[in-house]
């Protein structure tokens, strides 16, 4: 079996978000780029499965849709342990276009298990994984917090409002993963970094794909009113706020 992990290249989570061009463009100056946290966990889980399931998993591939500046992120994924990397040479513009690009590649080179994150921390779409599954006409399971391969059979845990479900699915399928899929993201070792240099990173040309949406402007949230301080000896004040203002008691 082959596993594909779709990686979104996102600003480090502590980045101060700024815009340029009269608030129409994200200002990427000085931004540190990382693997989207969910995708890093997906990769970690894929490697764990590969290591514990004998020879069942032939390879773990990472893929991103992006220009050449996303390659350090792919190299990092190779250093963490992916076997090979693919970059589809297109500027990502909207989820429909990104999913269509990934579809073009998967139709040419099929994978049994495709992993996407539940949300990209930049545009917060929660969209690409589901769109990809529909383009491929594959089953999809979303909000996946556990993925297991036992005797060639796939088991998944899915979070639902107020509980959890256990599912099985046929392959190929798309799993859209979230917290719980792996405990801690793996970090590259020195040896991993050395080996990553000689692992294959293939660049594929973009396929024709439409963009159906676009961001036309951005705004920063209005500045926060100053916090009103209540004395620790006088918590009754807070209870008055609970009652009169917030009406929660």
């Amino acid at each position: 079996m082959k596993i594909l992990i779709c990686l979104s290249n996102v600003p480090d989570t502590t980045t101060k978000i700024k815009f340029t061009g009269d608030n129409t463009q994200f200002d990427a100056a000085g931004v540190q780029w990382i693997i989207n946290p969910w995708d890093e966990l997906a990769l970690t889980r894929a490697l764990e499965i590969k290591e514990t399931s004998g020879t069942t998993i032939e390879k773990v591939t990472v893929l991103t849709v992006g220009k050449a500046d996303t390659e350090p992120t792919l190299r990092k994924a190779l250093a963490i342990g992916a076997d090979d990397a693919v970059r589809i040479d297109a500027e990502p513009k909207d989820a429909y276009q990104v999913a269509a690009q990934i579809t073009g590649f998967v139709k040419e080179q099929p994978y049994d298990i495709i992993l996407c994150g539940i949300e990209s921390s930049d545009y917060n779409g929660s969209t690409v994984g589901g769109m990809l599954a529909e383009f491929l006409d594959s089953p999809s399971v979303s909000s996946v917090s556990g993925l297991f391969l036992e005797n060639g059979q796939i088991r998944l845990n899915r979070e639902i409002d107020g509980g959890q479900e256990v599912l099985e699915t046929m392959i190929p399928f798309v799993a859209i993963v979230q917290k719980g899929i792996a405990k801690e993201p793996r970090i590259p070792s020195m040896r991993g970094i050395m080996m990553a240099r000689s692992k294959p990173l293939t660049v594929k040309p973009a396929v024709a794909a439409d963009e159906l949406t676009g961001f036309t402007a951005f705004e920063l949230p209005p500045p926060h009113a100053k916090c009103k301080m209540i004395d620790a000896e006088n918590v009754g004040e807070l209870v008055k706020v609970f009652r009169n203002e917030l009406k929660i008691i």
Partner: protein
């Protein structure tokens, strides 16, 4: 023309987010001079379905199929897309929760619709179709334009009010075209937690961070949550340390919540935590450090030790509730 809303049900019942969604669909339909239609999948009693009419649905399309148990993405997608086609839906709206996130993108591809997810208001304009959504995990707001003729939106919970609007909804039954290929996934087991207030539903959330100081120190926080009918949440290190279950972890890499009131005890207010709570209407913080960043996000604050403040607060709430 129509606006179609998919309302999920929980054991045959709807929740507040279902009514918010129908109300949103109704207001959007009014802007567009058309009607709001609802699709409901699974067994829901007629009186429950009728409630959707009270929030502005003019037609309710009910779909029952005995192969459906639990959420099967492919089957649900096919059903919603078939209803959308039958109803000539221009816009299909979902809640931005687990189920909505699972289905909306699939339906969007089926309809060749551009999608805006996690929107928190009605569109600013219809032509071009521009709507606002949070981006960069609460750090900014984006104006997204959908260029395609058909559109799919997911609505952030708690962002609009469910406004009553009496429409005499007609209920119609629809039989979808489904094959075995739509049922390639199977739900084997469901483990439900039913005795607790759900974090994602809660009006009030009581949350603790590392300042709680240990796994054995949560009894007062649980007590306060009980008094306020609140759900409990925590920061990532707290769940990583195993002080609290993982399901309570809130933030960029945990759950995103948007309650009316979020009470933060011993939480520093790291950017990744704030990303998960910034849609809360009111944030209240208790922290020993007057310079903790949480006070920049909070509306009310107390500088103090949680172990002293919590018992006093519990006492005062208890007294107030007696009156």
């Amino acid at each position: 023309m129509s606006v179609l809303a998919f309302t999920e049900n929980w054991d045959g019942k709807f929740k507040k987010i279902s009514f918010e969604l129908v109300s949103y669909a109704h207001q959007l339909a009014a802007q567009m001079n058309t009607n709001a239609v609802v699709v409901s999948i699974g067994n829901v009693p007629e009186e429950e379905l009728k409630k959707l009419g009270h929030y502005g649905a003019s037609k309710i399309v009910r779909v029952e199929d005995n192969r459906i148990s639990g959420l099967i993405n492919k089957a649900f997608t096919a059903i919603i897309a078939q209803v959308a086609e039958k109803e000539g839906a221009d816009v299909v709206v979902f809640s931005h929760n687990f189920t909505g996130k699972a289905l909306a993108p699939r339906v969007a591809v089926r309809l060749r619709a551009g999608m805006a997810s996690g929107v928190n208001a009605l569109p600013d304009s219809l032509d071009p179709f521009v709507v606002k959504k949070g981006v960069f995990t609460g750090k900014a707001i984006g104006h997204i334009t959908i260029k395609s003729a058909k559109k799919v939106l997911t609505l952030f919970p708690n962002s609009v009010e469910a406004i009553e609007a009496d429409e005499n909804a007609v209920i119609e039954t629809f039989t979808p075209q489904l094959s075995d290929a739509h049922f390639a996934t199977k739900v084997l087991e469901v483990k439900k937690v039913t005795d607790k207030v759900l974090l994602t539903d809660a009006e009030v959330v009581v949350s603790g961070g590392r300042g709680m100081k240990g796994a054995d120190k949560w009894a007062p926080l649980e007590e306060l949550a009980g008094l306020l009918g609140a759900a409990i949440a925590c920061t990532r290190p707290v769940s990583d340390e195993g002080w609290r279950p993982h399901g309570e972890h809130v933030g960029q890499t945990g759950k995103i919540v948007a309650p009316n009131v979020y009470l933060a005890f011993g939480i520093s207010g790291a950017i990744q935590h704030l990303g998960g709570i910034s849609a809360s209407k009111h944030i209240i913080a208790v922290n020993t450090d007057k310079d903790a960043p949480i006070f920049e996000a909070a509306e009310y604050g107390i500088v103090g030790d949680v172990q002293q403040v919590l018992p006093k607060l519990i006492e005062a709430v208890r007294e107030a509730k007696k009156q």
